[in-house]
Amino acid sequence: MNLFLEAWWWLLSPEQYVGQGGIPQRIGEHLYYTFVAVGIAAAIAIPVGYFIGHTGRGGVWLVGIAGAARALPSFGLMLLLVLLLGVSGRDSAALAALVILGIPPLLAGAYAGVQQIPRSTIDAAKAQGMTPWQVLVSVEIPLSLPLVLGGLRGAVLQVVATATLVAYVGLGGLGYDIIQGIPLRRFDQTIGTALVIVVVALVLDAVLAGASRLATPRGVRVGRLGDVRARS
């Protein structure tokens, strides 16, 4: 309990919030890596996921690769890439490792999102005279949104957690104060930073949950049946 009090004092002292290496700067760095990595991953994974879900081809392939990519340890991958790209490339190396981490959940979300749309709905849209592009934009994307956003939420969660490790190659972020604090035996710093990381992750998750709910079209929300089975 004592250590938590010390951490609390550390968090409350104003010097942590100003200047070089202050908490706001670390949060900013951390969010930078998270959003850029997830952004790139989404730009790659969502179109691919839609394509495979839409055309129905390569589904098994996809599941296999996504599953295998999940098994790659991001920490090791990042260090390997830094070794290969050199110090001046450590930014790209870290981002690459985080992008690879973020792709599987986004890919799975996009694929499942499109896959679960009943064929009849798409057929109805086509019967009304919609072009393939209109079907995509007016029907498939909105109806797949819940699952895609679920995938996005999963990806952000994974990446925000793993981004703590980019500090190991000196890129800053919230992990920096932990990695610095361990050899210095500054447990108020390590525990205080850990608490900050938890809060940031929770806030991000809550924001995404809220955004997910807002972005889901009203029709989709209403159409979801209650979980009748759970009752017995």
């Binding site: 599953g67 999940r70 790659l72 070794l83 490790l165 932990i178 850990a194």
Partner: protein, 220 residues
């Protein structure tokens, strides 16, 4: 390549350590999540609380959890216990929600039939509910297994050696084959555990193949 050949013994020994450090949290997390998931499913009012609490746990990054557990539990930061408890918590975090969904996915008619046949509460759980929840539980376990194997590597930052040792030592000494070996072996351990789980699924739940087959034929 020379490095790999020179260090085969170390590679094998650290892989086994890694396997052990992965399996314990997976099994413990699974065992802990079964009653919690079942409870959350059975008593709908608790579902929100349990799942939210567990979900919060999962958002905590591993390095942060390694810092927070020692003062709370009174253990050393640099102990295996710290890493094992943290990883068990992550495994449970995923599995509790998965277990709740698994139990919710069982057809209530089957449960009523079991009761009609004379199964009492516990008997019905082990003989009917658990097996029927099996396929979904297995899917969740596979995700947990892969995630746990990857997280074990971070333990090297708090002095718990595993295949993660090859990451930091290889990085320090700038030996690319060493870091690459660490990545590849971790990947292989994860794939191996996944294969074992699939095999276990085939042995323990042989009928789940048929269920999938019939579902597939429906779609076409």
């Amino acid at each position: 390549m020379d490095w790999v050949l020179d260090n085969v013994a170390l590679i094998i020994s650290l892989s086994l350590d890694h396997l052990r450090l992965s399996v314990i949290p997976i099994v413990m997390g699974f065992l802990v999540s079964l009653p919690l998931g079942w409870y959350a499913h059975r008593y709908a009012w608790s579902r929100g609380i349990v799942l939210t609490t567990v979900g919060l746990l999962y958002t905590v990054p591993s390095l942060a959890l390694f810092m927070l557990l020692p003062p709370v539990l009174g253990i050393s930061m640099v102990s295996q216990t710290n890493v094992l408890v943290a990883l068990t918590l992550y495994a449970a975090a995923i599995m509790v929600r998965n277990a709740a969904d698994a139990f919710a996915s069982i057809d209530p008619a089957a449960l009523r039939a079991a009761t009609a046949l004379g199964y009492a509460q516990w008997g019905r759980f082990f003989a009917v509910e658990l097996p029927l929840a099996g396929p979904v539980l297995l899917a969740g376990l596979r995700v947990v297994a892969v995630s746990t194997v990857s997280l074990v590597t971070v333990g090297v930052l708090v002095g718990v050696p595993s295949l993660g040792y090859f990451f930091t030592d290889g990085f320090q000494r700038r030996i690319v084959p060493e870091v690459a070996t660490g990545v590849i072996m971790t990947f292989l351990v994860a794939m191996a555990l996944d294969a074992v789980l699939v095999l276990l699924g085939r042995i323990l739940l042989p009928w789940s193949h048929l269920a999938i087959a019939s579902r597939v034929s429906q779609r076409a």
